[in-house]
């Protein structure tokens, strides 16, 4: 990005400018292999690729190497500080971003989604909601997508009520907690209950920064900074809190879901661009988005409120939010967020294909169906999960289409009558089954004639979506031989 600015403190190297040699120079160079890599150079390469972290090298953690460790920590530190919320196995890390745009490197630490509860909720309702938060999940191509944390809001603004609600929730759940109370007295009551669990303290404001900073230091808990719509104030608070000794900060520049949406998007962008492009340290902290604020307006229709919250959340996921607090528990609101988060945090540098060949499901025999698909990973995993869910006994041939889906592989001529014939031959499918019927994807229907000619097999055109495979087999298998 070209351009000028007045706020560059000092030039730090971007992760893309750091070479393995830069890292190797400070490693022990003993090639001990304790990290699991062949040698220190291999470790350095994976380190600058973001595939390993410095602490994966045991020798660098010894006293003898403390100077090198400190140097490398500074060299490799992401421009957006990584902040940990919670402890032990329930700890989550937010932020730790190296780049503004995903394709420049890859994004780390997928945005946790916290759902809110509040201290005036009747106990039964609280229990039900916490259970719902913990149990909500979606199986997406074999991965379990879940919600991640609980934000406890103080509506009572009363220390006793808040402390008691926090205690109840802590008893119910091990999930990482966000304590939301703008009065430091109320916050202190909550921290007395769960201080050792390292909850996120929400929040330090213009008027409470000192008291909240003391609480953050006392409990060694991360601190959110709330300066709605005022980046100058946000910077002032961050600067002051850093000087105060608070190291783990989280930034909330305010989420305006309706009026002010423009400011929300540009503030999030300005903060992240400042950190990643200009290495502005005051902006180098995780961003907190609060789509829940969609509920603070005058609108009374719940469906419209949920709709607004859903679209605000999805935009903030794309625009750099490192943590979200939401209210709607509806699946149609949450599902797009969970899936988009998963997608956005995949590594754009990783191969997108699975190995070609023939895969076996269940216990197929000589009469079992033979299906064929492409080696685009998502295509394969979708077909695989549908076959498994239906407990089918069958063979699935995976053709190397260079990682393209069925439709684009047909269009790009990677999935053709010839490539299908070659796959049948190279997988020696004729030896696996006693029939010669092949089920091709519905999206490759136009290949059926040519494929019959090139293979001599009977071609059955299957469903366009693999969720239809079980029904297709019920209706069309075994096929009539003409």
């Amino acid at each position: 990005m070209s351009g000028t600015d007045m706020q560059v403190p000092k030039r730090k190297k971007s992760i893309r400018e750091i070479s393995p040699i830069d890292v190797y120079k400070s490693l022990p160079k003993t090639n001990c292999g304790e990290c699991g890599e062949a040698n220190c150079m291999a470790f350095a390469t994976r380190l600058v690729n973001g595939e390993l972290v410095l602490t994966d090298c045991p020798p660098i953690l010894t006293d003898a190497n403390s100077k090198s460790y400190a140097e490398l920590s500074i060299l490799l530190a992401p421009p957006v500080h990584a902040v940990q919320i919670g402890t032990g196995e329930y700890r989550m890390t937010i932020g730790g971003k190296y780049v503004l745009q995903r394709h420049e490197f890859t994004y780390h630490n997928p945005t946790p989604i916290a759902l809110d509860v509040y201290d005036l909720m009747p106990e039964a309702e609280l229990l039900e909601r916490v259970r719902h938060i913990e149990e909500f999940s979606y199986n997406y191509i074999g991965r379990k997508l879940v919600l991640n944390a609980i934000a406890i809001r103080s509506c009572s603004n009363d220390s006793g009520t808040f402390g008691s609600a926090v205690r109840k929730i802590a008893e119910m759940s091990h999930y990482p907690l966000i304590l939301c109370a703008l009065d430091p007295e109320v916050m202190a009551a909550g921290l007395r209950e769960v201080g050792e669990r390292r909850p996120l303290i929400y929040a330090a404001t213009k008027s409470t920064w000192k008291e909240m900073a003391e609480l953050s230091l006392t409990y060694d808990a991360p601190l959110a900074v709330f300066a709605p719509g005022d980046l100058g104030l946000l910077r002032s608070l961050v600067k002051t809190l850093r000087e105060y000794g608070v190291t783990d900060l989280v930034l909330d520049p305010g989420t305006f879901a309706e009026e002010g949406l423009s400011d929300t998007i540009s503030n999030f962008t300005a903060i992240r661009a400042g950190a990643c492009r200009n290495f502005d340290e005051l902006f180098g902290y995780p961003l907190l988005g609060v789509p829940l604020t969609a509920w603070t307006g005058d609108e009374i229709s719940e469906d419209v409120l949920k709709w607004r919250e859903a679209i605000t959340a999805s935009m903030l996921l794309s625009r750099y939010a490192d943590l979200l607090i939401m209210h709607s528990m509806d699946g149609w609101v949450l599902l797009p967020q969970l899936i988009w988060r998963f997608n956005l945090y995949t590594d754009p540098r990783k191969p997108v294909s699975v190995e070609s060949g023939v895969k076996t499901f269940g216990r197929p025999g000589p009469d079992s169906p033979v299906l064929i698909t492409t080696n685009y990973a998502l295509t394969y995993f979708t077909v695989e999960s549908d076959i498994k869910a239906a407990n089918l006994d069958c063979y699935l041939i995976v053709v190397d289409t260079g990682g393209l889906s069925v439709e684009s592989a047909v269009a790009g001529r990677y999935f053709t009558a010839d490539s299908i014939a070659n796959a049948l031959k190279s997988c020696n499918v004729a030896a696996l089954v006693s029939h010669t019927s092949l089920i091709i994807p519905g999206l490759a229907a136009r290949l059926s004639g040519e494929t019959e000619e090139s293979t001599g097999w009977q071609i059955l055109v299957g469903p366009k979506d693999s969720s239809g495979i079980p029904q297709f087999l019920r209706e069309h298998w075994p096929p009539d031989r003409s």
Binding site: S2, S73, N109, G254, L261, T293, S301, K350, Y376, A377
Partner: protein, 414 residues
């Protein structure tokens, strides 16, 4: 032709008035009992490219802050001055449709493109032309998800009425007529029939028209050439020309027809910037760059939307940094969102009704790509259209945040 600015058809009041309409749209569909359906994906530009795994990265232990010896007692005063980023490149401006004075018959034209920064990086550099929305019309009865069909069921047999309804009722800026019946695998309708359909659409509505082919490089060439000639001077957007056409030796014919009769070409490639550049280079031989719009492929959320998102971010950034072969406006077929099973399939109750899941899927698909710099969307569901218009409007209003609205969100009772 000089690009013209069009008015953005919405004041604040008007949008507020839309809220009940959104409510109605969301509620109205709640009561319908639905069966699963078979989706006709042939006409959608469905494309599923790629996939990776989610890395987890531990926290770095290096903290940027060093505790000062004495704790501050007063707030430090730090200023904030927005960073001013400038780029050498600029996205070309392309005008769709032509008025009578300009040689066509439209009463409205639409200009897209012109961006000089990435989309919505700040509130100060708004795009000179706000993104616009085209609504789909099909020339034959296609099987659509029920959630979509119930809004258009009455007009599905009559493309002209369908187009009128899209403009009047749902606020379409542009109409896309998909000539699915020309597909040799369906009805193999003749170019003459297609010409007649497009004539009817041109007469039915006065907004610019996008003409969608069937994807067969030879048939599309015949159809587009005939339509280009009939609609001389109308600045139709022909959707689309491809490298397949180059291979079938039909690209030159379509491109020169578009040039001679003053139409726009949509250059379609599958998530591969080198292909997009190559196709544009081939087109430059026959037609001015100001008559080219790009479709880099829109994939459904859950099926590879991240590839669409990232390729658009890369393309736009490269164009702004000076790559003129990518400095064209871009369109997104947000309708492709409906290819995701999560959009149309009946699922357990905890995932909500598909009457809401479907429209939100299309909306999220479109909003995600809006942030990547989209200039024009092809859409279908009215609630998604309404939301896009609302968000585009709001993103054009910097400085309208009201702090008191959210400063007490922590204690709000819900």
């Amino acid at each position: 032709m000089a690009p013209k600015k069009i008015d953005i058809p919405s004041g604040n009041e008007k949008l507020l008035a839309l809220a009940p309409q959104l409510l109605e749209l969301l509620k109205g569909v709640n009561q319908v009992e639905l069966e699963n359906f078979t989706m006709e994906i042939g006409d959608l530009e469905l494309f599923i490219p790629a996939f990776g795994s989610m890395p987890a990265q531990g926290a770095s232990s290096a903290g940027p802050a060093t505790p000062a010896p004495a704790k501050p007692t007063e707030l430090f005063r730090e200023s904030y001055k927005p960073l001013e980023f400038t780029y050498p490149g600029k996205i070309r401006e392309v005008t769709l449709g032509a008025t009578r004075a300009e040689g066509g018959s439209r009463s409205k034209t639409v200009t897209i493109g012109g961006a000089t920064t990435p989309a919505y990086v700040d509130g100060l550099h708004l795009p000179p032309h706000l993104p616009v929305i085209a609504l789909d019309v099909f020339d034959m009865n296609v099987s659509l998800p029920k959630v979509l069909r119930e809004n258009v069921g009455d007009v599905m047999e009559d493309p002209a009425e369908w187009a009128k309804m899209n403009v009047k009722k749902f606020g379409a800026d542009v109409i896309t007529i998909h000539l699915m019946s020309t597909d040799p695998l369906f009805k193999d309708a003749s170019p003459a029939t297609a010409v007649k359909t497009v004539e009817e659409i041109l007469q039915a509505v006065d907004v610019p028209i996008i003409v969608g082919g069937c994807g067969d490089p030879r048939k599309d060439a015949d159809v587009f050439t005939a339509i280009a000639e009939m609609a001389d001077g109308e600045r139709l957007l022909l959707n689309s020309v491809t490298l397949d056409m180059a291979e079938s030796k039909t690209l030159e014919r379509v491109a020169t027809a578009a040039r001679d009769h003053d139409h726009i070409l949509l250059a379609f490639t599958g998530l591969e910037l080198n292909n997009a550049k190559e196709l544009n280079r081939r087109l430059y031989k026959f037609i001015p760059p100001e008559q080219i719009v790009m479709d880099l492929t829109t994939v459904a959320l859950g099926y590879g939307l991240e590839y669409s998102f990232t390729i658009h971010e890369r393309a736009r950034y490269a164009a702004l940094m000076g790559d003129e072969e990518l400095a064209h406006p871009v369109i997104s077929a947000a309708t492709n969102a409906w290819a995701a099973r999560e959009a149309w399939m009946k699922m357990p109750a905890e995932y909500g009704s598909r009457e809401l899941r479907g429209p939100v899927w299309e909306t999220v698909n479109a909003l995600t790509l809006l942030l990547a710099g989209m200039d024009l969307f092809l859409m279908m569901h009215p609630a998604a259209v309404l939301t896009l218009k609302d968000v585009i409007h709001r993103l054009g209003k910097p400085g309208s945040s009201k702090t008191d609205r959210i400063e007490d969100w922590v204690s709000v009772r819900l």
